[in-house]
Amino acid sequence: MKKLKLRFHRGYLAFPYMAVSIVFVIVPLILILIYAFTDASGAFSLESFNKFSDKGTWITMARSLIIAFLTTVLCLILAYPTALALTKIKASRRTVLLMVFILPMWINSLLRIYAVKLFFGDIAGMERGFMLTLIGMVYDFFPFMLLPIYTILTDMDKGVLEASADLGASPLETFLKVRLPLSVPGIVSGVLMVFMPTVSSFAVYDILGKDGGNAAFMDGKLFGNIVYTYFEKGYYNSGSALALALLVLILLSTVISNLITRGKTVKTGGTVS
């Protein structure tokens, strides 16, 4: 008789996460889909998407995209040189310095935004509005840009950089022709990790932003705020429709960035045959 054996399979390790993701990701997604395409009575309807016939919705979306874009660009401009500088520092000191940049992540995101309000608003005297929102966003999401770029730069094969210098390339040429192209996957991953949460963020605006009315294009609610308001007030159908639109937008940006990095996440250095 064959003994019944319970064999351990590594795939089983994924079960806890699968359970969590079913409850917290899959089911809510399905609910959003259902709510977006039904009306208050539960019947199929495209009524919720009427919001997109409103010019204001488009303006809000454009504003969110612009803020997310600016935040991403600013984070990139700040993070790349920082990451590059960190790689040049001795490994022992590097960890400490990296901690300084990562440390804010240990603090609750809301507290960090309040800190920005306190410092730039109350102490430096800046008014609530577009600029303060942008500063808050950059401060909030900077580590998400820094980490992937830092990782790809420190993991880069030093031999490739030496080879470039050996072939006559000055440090600047080596940077432009080797280091920068090889760090593109890190940049793309940083861009996604900053762009996706900023485009749907609502807390930063709530604390640092200002509704300047129709006259002020950049001072106003963000897309996330509208979605949040709908859900808060119980308009699940409209909220879901807008959330779905946002989801599609993020999906599109992911697809585009995957197209950029396709074939670029190559190993550096040689292989042993």
Partner: protein, 471 residues
Amino acid sequence: MSIAQKKIEKIIEVNGITKVFDGVTVIDNLSLGIRKGQFVTLLGPSGCGKTTLLRIIAGFEKPTEGKVYIEGAEMTDVPPYKRPVNTVFQRYALFPHLNVYKNVAYGLKIKKLDKAVIKEKVTSALKLVGLEGYDHRNVTSLSGGQQQRVAIARALVCEPSVLLLDEPLGALDLKMRKEMQSELISMHNRLGITFVYVTHDQEEALTMSDVVVVMNDGVIQQIGTPKKVYDEPSNAFVANFIGESNIISGIMPRDYRVCFLGEELECMDKGFEKNEKVDLVIRPEDINIYASDSEKGQFDGTVLRSVFKGTYYEMEIEANGYEFTVQSTKEQKIGTAVRLGIKPNGIHIMKKLRSVNEFYGEVTSENTVTFCGGEFEFDNKNGLEKGDRVKISIGFDAVTLTDDEEDGVIGANVTQSLYKGNYYQVQIYTDTDEDFYIDTQDEWDNNDRVGVKIDKEKMIVEKVEDEDEKA
């Protein structure tokens, strides 16, 4: 000849190079000149400083002390991208985001050459390494051998005065390695460029080079043609590292005579002091085997082991308490009694590196002295007092090694173990960066952690009066 001319003849010259990494001396006051057009190999075990020396020539490391000249110009502080040398890296270091053509064209594009010229040069470089038609292939899709060819083409296409190769064939399998070896030799012959080649493979060094530079512990042990280094090793390290050899301790009673293993034999060497202790090298192929009743030969022996090595037999033959390694095309059965004969030109005499261990230390009490980071007992015959600076001389036979570090007074790492006839000469390295030589009956493996004990009867402790003598 003027100084300038002399320097140009020597395409590379390093003068008094010392390199210290985190307090460890990797290269120790090394000087070397490399003549134009030569194929020079830096040969040595891993950690001997050969790769560091190459990286200093390439400009990736700055020497702690000393100067580097390339084509007569001082280059010590010149960054790598301004040096007229190109490197083939051990792990190829190809640009993974560029295809084969763009990898090879990289250096030429930096030089801003005309597109048509680049195309012509790259095409001929790829032809040289046998990769025609691979232009648009992704470098990561190539085999190790092909990647190495791209790396060689990428360096050669820049037409450097010197090509530096850092263990370029180390990652290839044996067959591919042999193939690339002969290709590199023919490339060197065709192009006339100076090659500086780093390897730990003595066979590779002997077959490929015009000149072999044998290194150990950051110091050059010998420079010479492959034949010279093999036939006339300058010391026991070189003899042991290059080829199979029997290394035996002996005494030179007078010129052209050497005593070892209880026999006195004729040799070709002279110029030693009377009764000077020496090391002998006898290559396995220089020992002749005769029948046990033969008139010829000097040693009676018994065959212990015999292994067929393809074209010859390698045998271990015991005679006068020593196990000779002997190579012969004729097999002798295990247990056979034989006579061994060694002709005068088969014996190579080398000066002993050191005949006694010397250290400086301080007397700490009536019968203890401290040196090499440990406190040892000694016989205080001369009435030395606490605080006296002393010189301690320890014979090779006065040291005992213990398996367990705790059993010794101090701990050390074994760095070398040489069979010297009927005993092993072991070199150990203490935690205070000092070397001990020890004669022992046991073989110790490299990097073994051992404890060190010293026989107090055989330890000579003398007071040092002059402070300068310590240095």
